[in-house]
């Protein structure tokens, strides 16, 4: 059955899932290529874990089709899909040693003991678990348990690895380490992986392709930097990037084909935008990433002005929160150099990288593409 020549490892076609009449997944179609690391990201309750469980076979879709390695597995038993899963809780068998945990699936398959031992040894070596093989999970640290959970998945040599928020139980520094380990492992094994997280930093750093989910629907699919540079809508713009993109309300004054000119509470701003059309007088959202807002140099007029209300110094960089004159809503955030000379209550004039500004219409959809990003199609450059 298996072994057909296919380039897509996982294929979802209009997959829907309802629980008690409540639609959780509202028609998701997606291709995951062989060897790709695809990350489902979205807020709590967006359906990302449900989607992963549907791929794993732990839940059955209400409608639609799921293919893995070219086979229709929509209703296949989880063990017949060629998938291995790393659970958020690790799901290690607490009464078994590390070696027994890793060997469990192989024992169930009825492999000879010598073969099982060899495979367990190999996996333990890759994951630096050799000295822990005789320990029970309760005698391991969080990071070690995580590696055992990964080892248990690797040893089965599945077609697809599924990760369900595997780092969310770890503290921040360990999460960073494990993220790098998972990225390295993915590169080494070149295994197709589907990874669920609510953490956009994990998504950006690990993914070949990010799938942004919201309320059971895909908002956008793309390489990490593609989503960052060209968010298709306000939701993606707000979700991808930390600190999040600043969104300012404005009205369209005119649209020339070269630029969209906006009326803002602080005057007129012309946003370069080739070929974009926007109806005069329509409400529009101006999106500016924190790193594309700067404190104007002395003598420079700037585009906006306001007062600093809070400064967060992180060492290498500084976040300044500025309330803009005349604008409603949240203060804007500036990402500045760690040594930036700003202080609370300071009146500041701000310049905007207009060529990197984003526009979203009343429906929240992107209006054209920022000129600086128009020619860029990928360049994900995540951890290898």
């Amino acid at each position: 059955m298996r072994g057909n020549v296919v380039t897509n490892s996982v294929k979802l076609t209009d997959v829907k899932k309802s629980f008690n009449g409540h639609d959780v997944i509202k028609g998701v179609s997606l291709d995951v290529q062989k060897g790709e690391m695809v990350v489902f990201v979205g807020p709590s309750g967006c359906g990302k874990s449900t989607l992963l469980r549907l791929i794993a076979g732990l839940d059955t879709p209400t409608s639609g089709q799921i293919e893995i390695a070219g086979n229709d597995v929509t209703y296949a038993h989880p063990s017949k899909r060629g998938v291995a899963m790393v659970f958020q809780s690790y799901a290690l068998y607490p009464h078994m040693t590390v070696a027994d945990n890793i060997a469990f699936a192989l024992k169930i398959q009825g492999l000879p003991k010598a073969e099982i031992d060899a495979k367990v040894r190999d996996v333990a070596e890759v994951l630096q678990l050799t000295h822990l093989l005789k320990r029970r999970p309760k005698a391991l640290s969080g990071g070690q348990r995580q590696r055992v959970a990964i080892g248990r998945a690797i040893v089965r040599e599945p077609d697809v690895f599924l990760f369900d928020e595997p780092l969310s139980n770890l503290d921040a520094s360990l999460r960073g380490q494990m993220r790098v380990e998972i990225a390295r492992l993915h590169t080494k094994l070149n295994a197709t992986s589907v990874y669920v997280t609510h953490d956009q930093v994990e998504a950006m750093t690990l993914a070949d392709k990010i799938v942004v989910l919201n309320a059971g629907r895909i908002e956008q699919i793309g390489a990490p930097m593609e989503l960052y540079r060209k968010p298709a809508n306000l939701f993606v713009a707000g979700f991808i990037g930390s600190p999040r993109m600043n969104i300012l309300g404005a009205k369209v004054r005119s649209s020339s084909g070269e630029a969209v000119t906006l009326d803002t509470p602080q005057g007129v701003l012309a946003i370069p935008r080739t070929g974009a059309q926007a109806a005069t007088g329509a409400s529009i959202s101006l999106g500016i990433r924190p790193e594309n807002l700067h404190v104007a140099a002395a003598g420079e007029e700037g585009h906006l002005s306001g007062y600093v209300i809070l400064i967060e110094r992180l060492g290498g960089e500084t976040f300044a929160y500025v309330t803009l004159k005349g604008f409603d809503g949240e203060p804007v955030i500036l990402k500045l150099d760690g040594e930036a000379q700003v202080h609370n209550h300071q009146e500041v004039r701000l310049t905007v990288d207009l060529n990197r500004a984003h526009l979203f219409d009343e429906a929240g959809l992107a209006v054209g593409v920022s000129p600086d990003f128009a020619d860029k199609t990928d360049g994900s450059g995540h951890v290898q």
Partner: protein, 300 residues
Amino acid sequence: MYNNKLIGSLYVTPFVIGFLLFTAFPFVASFILSLTDARLQDQLGAAQFTGVANYTGMVADSTFQKSLGVTFAYVFITVPLKLAFALFIAVVLNFKLRGIGLFRTAFYLPSILGGSVAIAVVWRFVFAGDGLINQGLGSLGIGGVNWLGEPTTAMFSIVLLRLWQFGSAMVVFLAGLKAIPEDLYEAADLDGASRMKQFWMITLPLLTPVLFFNFIMQIVQAFQEFNGPYIITAGGPLKSSYLLPLMIYEEAFKYFNLGYSSALSWVLFIIIAIFTAVAFWSQKHWVFYAQDRGDDKGGH
């Protein structure tokens, strides 16, 4: 501070008095009595110290030996059967089915009624010569059985009464089953383990603390069984259901041998203590305490 201690002591006093009067004193008194030839109808002062005579006397007492054998048989049959049955029902009631709460309640009801005198009386009617079971068998054209008149079937009837009270063990098993995380079964599903393998390789090992608790409780309760043999079979026929607690009762209140009865009580106490001690000692070989399950935030 002083007042707090005084108030605290006052709160504890009723329990302390109750414990001293109704537990500690009888406990010590029964041991002293077991070293005498005290008889129920005589003044306690008339009792003579006989040393360990009551204990050595048991060696030659064929009734005691018969009773001891029957008691061991009863315990060895009922404890595993009851545990297995309670576990089986708990596993069934752990399924996520519509109206499962109703079934759980229904299965627990017998344990509320328990092995009470009333139920034992009902049991006697059910197993009587013209009782419910024989009537049922008769309607199927099967000849009745003299349930309470044959040594093997008399034992069977009191064993069945014990099994019927599986509810409390079942509820403890059910709580244990619910404490096993669902994701372990999901991981096992992905690993290709069948339901049966999941039960033997995951459920049962993780249930051993609960199994251990139930085992101890059942051992203690089975050794102390009294209502069944007293009301249903009166220990007969031919002492085939003459459990040790019944013998203790009859020695004290039928034959008035208070000293000997106390010695029997102490022997029963020591037997239960040995079984419990062995169970506790053995638990390191078969009881698995999961403690934490791997979701702390520890470092490397």
